[in-house]
Symmetry: C2
Subunit: 247 residues, 2 copies
């Protein structure tokens, strides 16, 4: 049985301010929760789950230390869930300091310039994980990686990709030793770019693209050839298409 | 000034049942509304907009016949909007019978097998428009193309792509004269497929992929090579990546 205080405390973690203050965030659903637990990169503090989910995972849960596990009813889960339909489990994890591996393995690094839609950010983290991109550098104006919708749409990739928030202009200036690419409607056809072993790929804001200040630091613009009439592609889709051609 | 009855009627169009009964749907925001108006494929019945938007578009609006235009205040727009932040204009359009151009221009046709997430469906329609795919065949289990979130995420492409709901198994059986491809984790590397001039590409459900019955009709499975560890890619992202390689 969940107390009112408890319910409110979990609901409060849907707000960035409270996540920042407590250093905690919420993950939901069997796949995302198990992936984060298995990644061993995030410390899990509390689990709220339906009885059948708890029984199914009793062995794994018994190996984890210092977790408070609370069995809940369906209607209680729905109350603390941010999804339209709650899925079996809601867990509270500790945020973590990203392990900054840029120097040792630059390879291809994604830089996100004000990606504001949480669904897009989560999908881009999942794409990075698929294509083996280890680091994502986010501008301060990007959506919060611990937003419930971001966590959800990463589908568990959050534990396998480093997401770092910083002043991307300063960061790009420091890392100019490798070539800086950006997705752009006026760039060169990506099919002419060839494979890229080391480089930085900048993805711009959903509505405004890469900002002018950032664009000044770009060495090469990459364009996805358009055959039809849509004005643009979704930012996450563009990221996936470009990575699939240059990786 | 919006009456209560009017507000309720517009809100009711957020439900598929009411959209089916009335044959109407809602589009929101300057870009989507203008693209649908300019496409001349959808008849616009009513426009609710802020005064400055109406002034800006007074010339275009004066050319349109039989549209009821109602100036509204910000707070009224917010009430009838399905977005977290309403954008200047909400319009009521008539649904239309898709123009079935399959026979004359098969080229590449997308078939969606139970794409349930409205954001994914809208993004796929936008991707189809970018890559010049004229027809999308949706299984009956797909999200409704007139759902507000679908309309929103098409970013205006709804007027340029035919979306047809049908029994896809019967449809595929009728159209077997061209090769049928499907996105699949066990398929052949898409880089070995080469360009496809005529063909059908099936995209499966977000969680379960292409259903067994549909898979039996597939001639060739296409795989997006994975370098990292994510278990899968978002359905819309996978559609974009495969189309960018075979178109």
């Amino acid at each position: 049985m969940l107390s009112k205080t408890h319910t409110k405390y979990i609901q409060s973690l849907q707000h960035k301010k409270l996540r920042d203050e407590t250093g905690l965030f919420i993950a939901e659903g069997p796949k995302v929760v198990m992936d984060l637990l298995n990644s061993r990169k995030f410390v899990c503090k509390e689990i709220f789950a339906l009885n059948n989910w708890l029984q199914e995972h009793s062995q794994q849960l018994s190996l984890l230390k210092d977790i408070v596990v609370t069995p809940v009813e369906d209607f209680e889960l729905q109350k603390i869930s941010s999804l339209s339909t709650a899925h079996a489990v809601v867990a509270v994890f500790e945020k973590r300091k990203p392990v900054y591996t840029i120097e040792t393995a630059l390879k291809i690094t994604l830089v996100l310039d004000t990606i504001q839609d949480p669904g897009n950010l989560g999908t881009i983290i999942r794409i990075a994980d698929w294509f083996g991109v280890e680091n994502i550098i986010c501008s301060i104006g990007c959506a919060d990686m611990y937003n419930a919708k971001v966590v959800q749409s990463t589908m568990g990739s959050l534990g396998r990709v480093n997401v770092i928030y910083t002043d991307i202009i300063a960061w790009l200036k420091e890392n100019r030793k490798v070539k800086i690419y950006s997705a752009s409607l006026e760039g060169e056809d990506m099919k002419c770019i060839g494979k890229v072993k080391e480089g930085i790929l900048i993805i711009g804001n959903e509505a405004n693209g890469v900002s002018d200040e950032v664009m000044e630091l770009v060495n090469e613009k990459i364009n996805i050839p358009r055959i039809g009439e849509a004005e643009s592609l979704n930012a996450a889709v563009a990221t996936g298409i470009i990575l699939s051609h240059i990786k």
